[in-house]
């Protein structure tokens, strides 16, 4: 798909003028020698490689560790745009936490008939082990990554609510760090809201959710599947920045009713576990018995108030793509207000009428697996060949309930730096949200992912996307 006339560029307006948030940056950019910028761009890559900011690609033996390409043109949001966005995100995240508690306790939303019962009962993300249990602080989604797309000046949509273990925050932090090192003069001229507090806020937020059994200063650990995981860099980065231990399942075990980590001086208790492994692998005694990544017995300790698990097991029920389509109702049901942020129009293929529409319009739609992630197993109709569409049609007809479809949005573009100067590329935005009993904290900005191929709408890093630093301007 090429850039159509309806595509909204966040920096350069259709009449060629510069959008207000970008004015100062544009002035600076025009005064730069392109050769110097090109060498800065290479400098950034060398920096990322040396510091090991890489991600692993599954099934790609040759290039096990790849860099996510970094583009040096920032994505800039005005203070006003951000205020609007962050209010909408906060409302949504509060609703999500209320929803999850309700689903595992009273199920009022089901009784009110706002959501079909079978959507919950037959959902793999629904964990019976969580029924009747309230996690410490009544928080389920300690960390959320809300994916936002934009189609026009004031048109923001939520594309996904990542309520399990959203990744990418290390890139947000390192991108800013890189920009500060490469272009310190820019930050002297333009006042950008800082993001560097994130690790400190994360630690405080997690500590504020310490379990009942915790005495004294809460001890936080990050649970990683290990160095071969695609996001291992981020796990170690966050542990390092928070001053928390980075543990694997085999470092932990149950000791006297608590979870403890094996140290050189014996076993030491952990109060809050920021886990970066999926529910299914968390506890071989409760979930997948084959799991070597988890901690046998941790669910019992959790339910007895001996440890906090962040995010809570079963929180994934809220970011399922089928549930997503009900999010406007969910927000209204729990907050009593209209949702501030719009949803993307979504066809639930489980419904016969919607399915018929989707099958008739496959070449126009984006079809996603209900439980898929990372851009795998999805069809981007306008970009797909006839053969791909035909193959996808078969999968869709075989298991319609497994899919949802959305219109192909004309995602906004932000320029990237190329040999010829600036060129527009499609972007999305993942702000990072922290939830604790003390409140909701959203880091100004987030991770902007950019599809580096001209015209492409797929921004996932596993599919050739890159990232940009994201600026929220001071008032």
């Amino acid at each position: 798909m090429t850039k159509g006339p309806t595509t909204y560029d966040e920096m350069i307006r259709s009449d060629g003028s510069i959008s207000p948030p970008y004015e100062r940056y544009d002035t600076w950019f025009k005064s730069q020698d392109p050769g110097r910028l090109a060498s800065k761009s290479q400098e950034a890559e060398a920096f990322f490689r040396r510091t090991g900011i890489t991600f692993n690609v599954y099934g790609d033996a040759e290039a096990q560790e790849r860099l996510i390409p970094f583009d040096l043109v920032p994505r800039i949001l005005s203070h006003r745009e951000w205020t609007r966005l962050s209010k909408g995100i906060e409302q949504r995240v509060r609703a999500i936490n209320a929803f999850i508690w309700d689903i595992y306790n009273r199920q009022e939303i089901l009784r009110a008939g706002r959501i079909p019962k079978e959507l919950i009962a037959q959902n793999d993300a629904f964990l019976p082990q969580m029924i009747g249990f309230t996690p410490p602080g009544k928080v389920y989604t300690h960390i959320v990554g809300t994916d936002i797309v934009r189609t026009g000046e004031g048109d923001f949509f939520v594309l996904e609510d990542n309520a399990r273990t959203p990744s990418g925050v290390s890139y947000m932090l390192e991108n800013r760090e890189t920009m500060l090192q490469m272009f310190p003069e820019l930050f002297a001229q333009i006042r950008v809201q800082p993001v560097s507090d994130y690790p400190k806020n994360l630690r405080h937020s997690l500590a504020a959710c310490a379990p009942a059994a915790c005495t004294g200063k809460p001890r936080v650990a990050v649970l990683t599947p290990g160095i071969h995981n695609s996001a291992y860099f981020e796990h170690s980065f966050l542990a390092d920045q928070m001053g928390a231990e980075l543990v694997e399942g085999h470092d932990l075990r149950v000791v006297d009713g608590r979870i403890a980590m094996r140290t050189t001086q014996g076993y030491h208790v952990v109060d809050v576990l920021y886990r970066r492994i999926d529910d299914d692998f968390l506890d071989p005694l409760s979930f997948n018995p084959e799991s070597m990544l988890g901690v046998p017995g941790i669910m019992d300790i959790y339910r007895a108030g001996g440890i906090t698990i962040a995010n809570a097991p079963g929180a994934g029920i809220a970011d399922d793509k089928a549930i997503y389509s009900y999010m406007p109702e969910i927000v209204e049901f729990y907050t009593g207000e209209k949702a501030l942020l719009k949803n993307v129009e979504t066809y639930r293929c489980a419904e016969p009428e919607a399915l018929k529409y989707v099958l008739d319009n496959l070449s126009e739609l984006v079809v996603k697996e209900v439980h898929g992630s990372g851009g795998y197993g999805m069809l981007v109709g306008p970009a797909a060949s006839k053969k791909e569409i035909a193959a996808f049609r078969k999968k869709l007809e075989a298991r319609p309930a497994n899919y949802i479809a959305q219109p192909t949005l004309s995602l906004s573009t932000v320029p990237i730096f190329v040999d010829q100067g600036l060129a527009p590329r499609h972007v999305d935005l993942r702000p990072f949200v922290l939830v604790s009993p003390q409140g909701v904290n959203i880091t100004p900005g987030g991770l902007t992912r950019v599809a580096l191929t001209e015209g492409s709408l797929v921004v996932n890093s596993s599919q050739g996307g890159g990232t940009k630093d994201t600026w929220v301007l001071e008032d």
Partner: protein, 313 residues
């Protein structure tokens, strides 16, 4: 500190040390093979044996030549002790313990891996070998420099050092063991040019051929060299030096943690052996026997440390 982290540090530095030792060994072998007086094939064989990877080599090749041995020791992923394998293992361990390392140390290890991976992509020719080996040594020095210059002197540093010296002691002991027959006192009586070449090979493989001349005013005799490698506390690759360092770092751990373990007793026993023996008692008991026992005790100490500090569940 997590037991796993201690283990990661220990192995990271064992692997880094091994990479450097393999490079030195290869350099010594290369020089030997260049001298006409030696039997090149048997020299290359003893290089492979000393590296501790003879079994895997024999499973793969029937003969010994510079090309085969160089490839096996530098770039063969089937050889877990090849430079490329241990460099990768060192970096994997560094990733595992990244939160315990300073940025400088991490970047040095990461750079070491990236540099050697590119350097060893294609087979190394004998023409390029000296510069390749120089790069390996230089990279290793950069990591060590970053460690010395930036790390706190705490338990993290202790485990890194213990790994280094357990590995180094093992390496020096194996060099002595493989060449023990040239170090027997009877050999010094001969004083032939062959012995001189052999001795130089031994000294070179522990980077001590010049140190020996500086420090030892005695003639270059087999006994003097054996004594130098085993007992000289000034030589950073002697058994005595390695034992002293390991014992010292274990003592720091004992103080910091206020916990004494069986590994401390084992280390003290090795230290006592160094203090109470000399080169004559070694020859009385048999050089080969003494060194074999040392290798066994050193390995036992390593395993005991792993157990006492809970490297694994």
């Amino acid at each position: 500190m997590l037991g796993k982290t201690a283990g990661g540090l220990y192995w990271m530095f064992r692997f880094l040390e091994r990479s450097e030792n393999t490079a030195r060994l290869l350099e010594a072998g290369f020089r030997m093979a260049l001298t006409r007086s030696s039997d090149a094939e048997s020299e290359w064989q003893s290089v492979v044996t000393t590296s501790g990877a003879a079994m895997g080599y024999q499973a793969k090749y029937d003969s010994y030549s510079d090309t085969l041995v160089m490839d096996w020791l530098l770039r063969d992923p089937d050889n877990p002790s090849s430079v490329i394998s241990v460099t990768k293992s060192a970096r994997d361990n560094a990733r595992l313990v990244r939160t315990a390392l300073t940025t400088e140390v991490w970047e040095a290890v990461n750079d070491n891996w990236m540099t050697l991976r590119d350097l060893l992509k294609e087979p190394v020719t004998t023409v390029d070998l000296p510069s390749v080996l120089a790069t390996i040594r230089k990279q290793s020095a950069l990591v060590r420099g970053a460690l010395y210059g930036t790390m706190l002197r705490n338990d993290i540093y202790d485990f890194a050092r213990i790994g280094t010296f357990i590995e180094r002691a093992d390496n020096t002991a194996r060099i002595i063991d493989v060449k023990y027959y040239t170090l027997l006192p009877s050999a010094s009586a001969v004083g032939s040019s062959l012995d001189n070449v052999q001795w130089e090979m031994i000294l070179r493989s522990v980077s001590a051929h010049r140190c020996f001349r500086w420090l030892d005013e005695k003639d270059m005799t087999a006994t003097a060299i054996a004594e130098f490698l085993i007992f000289d506390k000034r030589l950073p690759r002697s058994l005595a030096f390695c034992v002293k360092q390991t014992t010292e770092n274990l003592r720091y751990l004992e103080q910091e943690y206020e916990q004494r373990h069986p590994c401390h007793d084992l280390a003290d026993r090795l230290k006592r052996w160094v203090r109470e023996s000399d080169i004559n008692t070694v020859f009385d008991l048999g050089l080969h026997e003494v060194v074999t026992e040392f290798i066994r005790d050193n390995n036992a100490l390593g395993s005991q440390i792993e157990q006492d500090y809970r490297f694994m569940a």
